[in-house]
Symmetry: C6
Subunit: 281 residues, 6 copies
């Protein structure tokens, strides 16, 4: 049994360009924000490509830089200052957190699902997004002047942001804020074909089904929190290809159920409504 | 007094095929998800066979692999990142948690009752279910690239999921999601006979009673959270066999009370309604 | 000053048969559950003899076994996994908890007032009541296969179980569940005489008073949470005997007040109603 | 500057009989409970003499015993198992808590304001009030058999017990429960004279005022939580004596305000009503 | 750069008599309470001189005593037993808290904003205000007999005490309780002149404005929590003097805004009403 | 890769005068408060220049002083006494917090978003703003006399202060309290030109748009928490300059969207209303 490959945080970078299909001027604006040393906030539904974009930008911006760490932190209400800045272990060795690494070595720190973070984590980002660009680390007694190639990015989905989780203006008014959505049908089909090798005809079917569901979201007929993500479409195409590989005839309805319908609802009534839509297959 | 047998986590595997009776195409879909390096989510009522299926699949998928640890974690709101990833003990020795073990050695990690977990535990699963398949362990400073034979499975019962416990779309839209239910009467009788050695006639009686109760669940007559599980049916058959072994005449009503009725309700009125059903014995 | 006698957990057993007066077939069912390696759940009002039964069964089942520890854990919302499994002290010595001891050495672990426990404690019991009968101890990295003579028992009073404290079906549907109540008048008088040496005539008076109160519980006249327990009856008989021992004439009303009425209510109005019942003395 | 006198817990006893004026048969009942190895619960308003009684009984019961520690623990919602049982300090030295000391060396442990304690503290008292009389100390791995001269006493005021703070029947039905009230006027005057050396005439005035206030408590005219305690009466008499000692003419109204009225209310309207009652002076 | 002057707790005393202007018999009553070894509770609005009185008394009472530490603890809901009693540092050195210092060396301990403290802190004061005058320190295993020259004082403002923060009678009925208010106009002017050297004419103007605001507090026109404190009046006079020192003509309206109006409200409407009152300048 | 520049807290000072454009007499009042050793409270909307003013004053006041540390602490509900005062690390080395540094070495400590702090943090500021000017540090046992050149400043936005977060009068009535607002159009244009080098014509356009939005804030048409800050205006001008630098024609509407509209709202309807205002471009 071979142990899996392990990397140290400070050496971590995006070494391979991920496949990203631009939908607007987001790449240019992202680049300009970086040049102006401003943070970026990406907003949009789950699985629409927010973190693929950050990986793509981290690859691009880091091309000419010796080290350009890329660290993604999924936020939640139990992430604390200690997680982001670091701490001493019992032997007195300093274990740097993502923000500390970024403040020391530069690179991109992505706070995913930022809206889920606690107030203390949110204000931590204030000093690194101020004009003075400093990070105070009380545990080590340091006040770190951020390097020019440090960039902070926050991602979240405003769609299901609830009252208690709205960002305060003093936080929100620091970011170049880019709103993202699902790709157009044409682009989404292209993505599926490129990522899974599926035939266009099948891809179109699944994308149409996804768009039907997305459009139903605001109707009275079903109560789903969010539409079908591009990620789920990739998964259903993979299952389709699995059937082919197993030399079985693909059961479109079965794989649509387990990869497109079940993941977005567990309500019997909603599942029934969505299964009726499968008549298109 | 002999001490009981103890195994280390990393060596732990399912060495004996558990008896599992398939009800649909769940085994095939589970296998395809594994081949596509996608996680699986199993949903269904308590005691319907979700973890028996995971054990069965862990046995099957691990057949040709030297080490294929199988670790089941019952989730609840006090399970934290530390439980899943690991921690250093006071001597500085690293105590790996289930996800860390899976990320290092491969195998199957099953998060049972996933719906009971806290947000921080749920987002922990995000990076291991992303395309990049990495696990960041801040305590050790590692970013682990998951081995191909690592698989994550989550189980839960959507039946009594309450508002505050619904999975966020950003979590749910990562899983091949398979819905399971109680077996058909024929299959359930077969399971009871195989597991307890009970005669068919008695098994049929108990299964019929169970189905009567399951059907009553949605009626106004009783207020039970969930129907009789296959597990309880196994238990009542065991008691029946105990009476035989003790050379006593089995008291069907008594054992049905303690093994089928009392475990599903403590309300006097509901117990009375259910005891009336025992007239079939 | 002599220090009191101290026993280590692992050596602890019930060495003297406690006096237990069976009321139904609970002893047989308890024994069968043990033989089938199934856990038992005892439900009933406070002081009706639940833990006396567990002590009696622990004595009986352990008769032929070299070591059969008996450990009773009163549950409450601050009992954690650490209490039940164990932990390392500052010198690195492992301090085993009740479940760990049971998993290693066998014996009976009784979780009293189980309904008061937290979700994390409840799910801890899942793996030891599964078919696989294992206990995973993350702190030591062990997966312990339970010995055949390990038995888990939970006790609680469903009478005052509130909404937030109902057991989940996935927990409840694992136990042979035996409902217990107050003994019949005849048996209760017998218990009092045997335990305190009181004359039958007086015992009957107190038991009648107790039954009057128990019957009033559901009426509109008083608002008490629970009726008079057998335990309180034992206490009032002891006080009666104390008066005799002090060569004083026993004041029935006084001792009924401090041992039967005051312990079940502190409301002036309820106390008045109950004191009127004392006219029977 | 001399340091004040310090005693170790284990040597602590009541070495001087406190002045206690019995009001009923509480001393006899308390003694009998001790002889029967039963715990006692004292209920009554603040400052009515509950802890003076426990000190008096601890002195009396401990007369013939070499060591009879008396430990009073004021309960509140932050008292934990650790406070009561003990813990290891950083050097590995065991710091015994009150219950541990009582379980090892005997004596009386008084849990004052027991109604304010948390559920975990309340159930801790269960095993020491059971027939088996044991104390399990998980931290040291001990199961301590209680010595015969260990007694547990709980005190509280049921008068302002709120819903969430009612004792569970499984806790309450373990105690010989004695209800106490304010002393009669005659006894209270006697107490004041004995404790402060005040003249009878003045003492009578203050006690009458106190009883007027106590009687008003249930009226609509004022909203005070509790009446004037004997403790406050002692304080006002002391102030009176202070004026005499300072060779000043005592200002009855002033000292009644700061020692009898202000301590029971801070509401302007209530203070006005009570100050009108001072016309009696 | 010189480091600032640092004193150890145990040596700390009030070495200079603060300027205190008595308003009633509070100094005499305070002295008598000290002589009777009774605690004092001072109640009144913010900035009315409560802590100036305690400093003054600590100076006076400590005149003839070698060491008479004065320690003021601002209470809040995160102050714990550990803050008040002390704790061991990591090297095993005992760090005494304020109450421990007082119990060992005597002196005055002032719990400011006592109403903000938690229940555990409040009951901590019970044993030091009992007749037995002891302080149990579980961490060191000591039961300390309080020295005669130890005095406890609590201060708070009953004006904005909310339901959940009312003192329990068992706490409140231990204190000689002195109610304080704003000084009369004459005295307040005297205070301002003495403290800031301002001319009488200006001082009168500001005091009149303050009294106008205090009187408006109960009217419908504004919604302020509390009136202008003497402390604010001192601050506005200081600003006036600053203008003179800078050889600028003092802008009465500007300094009244920043030192008298803004500190008591941030509501636009209230600020407007108060600014109209400035017409008197 | 060069590591970024790191400074120790105690050496930290503002070494370069930040560009600050005064709007009233705030600089004079701030200076007088410093001379009178009084704390200052700055209130106003996000991004209106509060911390730029504190930096400017820290630069000015510190000009003639060897060391004048400037430490800004963003408050939130997880900032504790330990953060502000300091703590010992595991090796027993004292890690001073901001207030401790200020109390020892002087300088300016700015508690930003003070309204978000917890009660324990708020009362911590009481003793440093009292006449006695002391800081008690229980962990080190010190009572520090503040140096003359220590100044405390608190900043917050009363605009979105909610009920539970209002400052208590005993806290608020200690500060010279200065209210700040957005700069006038003329000054704001000047700021933008100076900071970003943008042409006046464009700056005017953006400022006008900002003022339109600010004025709409109280209307029914949109529901935004706060208007466009000066900070956002700087950011949009920077983007404009980026387009020029990239030799692209600036897309005013696009950059207004990502830098002025998106950062202040994520509501579709509000965004639509605001985008209509862009017709002015």
């Amino acid at each position: 049994m071979l142990e899996s490959k392990v990397t140290r945080f400070e050496d971590y970078r995006i070494s391979k360009a991920p496949y990203y299909e631009p939908v607007g001027n987001e790449v240019l604006l992202f680049q300009m924000a970086y040049e102006n040393k401003r943070p970026v906030s990406l907003r949009g539904p789950t699985g629409c490509g927010k973190t693929t974009l950050t990986e793509f930008m981290a690859y691009t911006l880091g091309l000419d830089i010796t080290a350009f760490p890329y660290i993604e932190v999924p936020c939640h209400e139990d992430i604390t200052e200690t997680h982001l800045l670091g701490r001493y272990d019992l032997d007195g060795k300093w274990l740097p957190g993502p923000l500390y690494i970024g403040a020391k070595y530069g690179g991109m720190v992505v706070l995913d699902e930022f809206i889920e973070s606690r107030p203390d984590v949110r204000v931590l980002t204030h000093s690194v997004t101020d004009d003075r660009r400093v990070l105070s680390v009380s545990k080590t007694g340091e006040v770190i002047q951020l390097p020019d190639n440090f960039m902070l990015v926050t991602c979240y989905n405003p769609g299901y942001q609830i009252k208690s989780k709205v960002l305060k203006p003093s936080t929100a008014q620091r970011y170049i804020t880019i709103d993202m959505g699902y790709p157009s049908q044409e682009i989404e089909v292209k993505i599926l074909m490129k990522k899974t090798g599926i035939e266009k005809e099948i891809a179109v079917k699944f994308v149409r089904f996804a768009n039907d569901v997305r459009n139903m979201r605001d109707s009275d007929r079903i109560r789903i929190q969010e539409g079908v993500s591009t990620r789920l479409l990739v998964m259903v195409c993979e299952l389709y290809k699995s059937y082919i590989r197993h030399k079985l005839s693909p059961n479109l309805k079965t794989i649509a159920k387990v990869a497109l319908i079940n993941p977005i609802t567990s309500e019997q009534t909603d599942k029934k409504v969505l299964e009726e839509l499968l008549a298109i297959f």
